[in-house]
């Protein structure tokens, strides 16, 4: 296909032409992987290839994809109800990579899902799509329909004996639905609160059946791994991790956008070469490297390689790989307040610290930003960052995610906090002006 393209994920995406139809997709090398896997590989071999490809989940946590699949009970799809779910909930502020893939080349996701489903022998596929992605929904439905018509979905695909079909679940807006266990609860038509593990979704997921939840980007990589081999894929990465990654930048840069680059591309390169650097008159102050729930890093860390390990060493997380830039002229406290408002509102309301702690944080930041902050508010912010930030204290990773920008911001912008409280107003006057 896109033979050994450097940009396998997005090579076929052409916004002007719209998503490829089945024939175009096939001409460009599509279905090659599905044909190979279903025809010649055993499910165990597919898992092995993916493990060797060093593909790590692109949903944020970076768990090894092949390893995740290995926990699924091995019965053939015909013997046990299992699910393969594409996590297309993409609601992390600052993140817009999955929409690109969904709208640009939905068949690639369909093929990826077929491969993943075959590997874990799941007969039922679901795309959990965030409700606002209407265009993606239309295109995905069309792609699925077409694939079904051509025998890529349905009973006994390509005479392999493997049956699999996909339906799209359009959600109704709730960040926590992206958390894989809350996603399962949502699919069951319940209030989408996360579930405790064990049981892990791989053994007891949707309706109690083994289920695999993978991010859209993760799944879209699969056709290329199978078609071109795991070693090729692993070789695409610049560091420890395999493949390419969609990186993006938003904020006051010259050319906000998203680009497919080798995983491990240095942050500076992404911002300067691809996003065109800062807009004239603006200076980079700090940034969230991988979406709203990652910690701030400042200009001293710009040379970090954007892979899971390196970003973590730099004190943050790769997350979704979609950076949000804070410029000199924007109030950092205003930004954190905006983030915490989001997290407080999107708390599912299940566990106490998150449900009642995040709104407290939000009120404190409101007060500080509005000029009514007090000295002791800083202690409260500190305390919350400590108490909600560490894993295991809240039920799921939502609250720790929420605390990442706050905790790092408290350190990085200590002087700004102090100035707000001392002056009784926001020194950046209206918070953020155009």
């Amino acid at each position: 296909m896109m033979a050994a393209s450097e940009r396998p994920l997005t090579a076929m995406i052409d916004p002007a032409a719209g998503p490829p139809d089945c024939a175009t997709y096939e001409r460009a090398g599509g279905w090659q992987a599905a044909r190979l896997a279903l025809g010649r590989l055993t499910p165990a071999e597919v898992i092995d290839w993916v493990t060797r490809s060093k593909l790590r989940g692109r949903g944020g946590a970076g768990f090894g994809t092949g390893q995740k699949w290995s926990f699924v009970p091995k019965e053939p799809a015909s013997e046990r109800r299992k699910y393969l779910i594409a996590n297309a909930d993409e609601m992390e502020p600052g993140t817009f990579k999955d929409r690109w893939l969904l709208e640009g080349n939905p068949l690639q996701l369909v093929e990826g899902m077929i491969l993943a489903a075959y590997a874990v022998q799941a007969g039922h596929g679901i795309v959990f799509l965030r409700g606002e992605y209407q265009e993606a929904c239309v295109r995905l439905d069309r792609a699925i329909g077409e694939a079904r018509e051509r025998g890529w979905l349905g009973e006994n695909i390509l005479g392999s004996g493997f049956s699999f079909d996909i339906h799209v679940h359009s959600s109704a807006g709730r960040y926590i639905c992206g958390e894989e266990t809350a996603l399962l609860t949502a699919l069951e038509g319940r209030r989408a609160t996360p579930r405790s593990k064990p049981p892990f979704p791989q053994t007891g997921g949707l309706w109690g059946a083994p289920s695999v939840v993978n991010n859209v980007e993760t799944l879209c990589n699969l056709p290329h791994i199978i078609a071109n081999g795991p070693e090729w894929f692993a070789g695409l990465g610049l560091g420890e991790d395999g493949g390419t990654k969609i990186y993006g930048v938003s904020g006051r840069v010259a050319k906000p956008g998203a680009w497919e680059l080798p995983i491990g591309t240095p942050l500076r390169q992404i911002i300067e070469d691809h996003a065109g650097g800062m807009r004239p008159g603006y200076q980079l102050r700090a940034l969230l490297p991988g979406g709203a729930s990652t910690a701030f890093i400042d200009t001293t860390a710009l040379d970090v390689a954007m892979d899971y390990g390196s970003v973590e060493k730099a004190g943050s997380r790769l997350g979704t790989g979609m950076a949000i830039i804070l410029d000199e002229r924007t109030c950092p406290i205003g930004m954190i307040r905006n983030l915490e408002h989001f997290f407080a509102q999107e708390s599912c309301g299940w566990c106490t610290p998150c449900r009642d702690g995040l709104p407290w944080v939000e009120r404190l930041l409101d007060a500080i930003e509005d000029g009514t902050g007090r000295e002791e508010d800083m202690e409260q912010l500190d305390r919350h960052a400590r108490m909600l930030g560490a894993p295991g204290r809240t039920f799921c990773a939502h609250a720790p995610g929420a605390m990442a920008p706050l905790a790092s911001g408290l350190k990085l912008f200590a002087a700004d906090f102090a100035a707000h409280i001392q002056q009784g107003r926001c020194p950046h006057h209206a918070g953020a002006g155009p």
């Binding site: 109800r81 993409e90 609601m91 992390e92 502020p93 600052g94 993140t95 817009f96 999955d98 929409r99 965030r130 409700g131 606002e132 992605y133 209407q134 265009e135 339906h167 679940h169 359009s170 959600s171 109704a172 807006g173 709730r174 960040y175 949502a186 699919l187 069951e188 038509g189 319940r190 209030r191 989408a192 309706w207 993006g248 930048v249 938003s250 904020g251 006051r252 906000p256 956008g257 998203a258 969230l288 709203a292 979609m322 949000i324 830039i325 804070l326 410029d327 924007t330 205003g334 930004m335 905006n338 408002h341 989001f342 509102q345 999107e346 209206a430 918070g431 953020a432 002006g433 155009p434």
Partner: protein, 152 residues
């Protein structure tokens, strides 16, 4: 629509799996989910109205109160905020004479905040009745409002 809802329910392992889809269908048709409709859907899915309303009130995009003919959902998440969504929001409020969460007196437009809609590279962004708008400016807003007022 009843048939459509029953068909959705039939696709699921348990009818309740279709609850969000069914409510969205109702909303697509009526603009919002009234209590009477909620009850009917609950009946079709074999759930209690209480149960279904617990789900309906959980999600941001399911409206349990009437909205205007058009809904403007202005992104209030971080990238759009950095790019000046507050000014836009103030502008909208002034123009429409309402606050976020309210509907204009002529029932034409409801203004709601929304979390990040994945259009951050074109911030500030908004959704107007399912259509995505990016790089929004006060001027483009004025134009939009005028068109919306005229379309049914």
């Amino acid at each position: 629509m009843r048939a459509e809802i029953l068909a959705l329910a039939a696709q699921e392992l348990h009818p309740r799996g279709a609850s969000v889809a069914a409510l969205r269908l109702v909303q697509a048709h009526f603009g919002w989910v009234s209590t009477a409709h909620l009850r009917e859907v609950a009946d079709l899915l074999g759930m209690s109205a209480d149960d279904l309303d617990g789900v309906a009130t959980y999600f941001n995009l399911l409206f349990r109160r009437p909205v205007g003919r058009h809904v403007i959902m202005l992104c209030d998440s971080v990238s759009c905020w950095i790019m000046g969504r507050e000014t836009l929001c103030a502008h909208l409020c002034r123009k429409l004479g309402i606050r976020p969460g309210e509907t204009t007196a002529d029932n034409a437009i409801t203004l709601l905040p929304t979390v990040c809609i994945g259009h951050c590279d074109h911030a500030p962004a908004m959704l107007v009745d399912n259509t995505l708008h990016g790089d929004v400016t006060p001027a483009s807003l004025d134009h939009l409002i005028a068109t919306l007022r005229d379309t049914p």
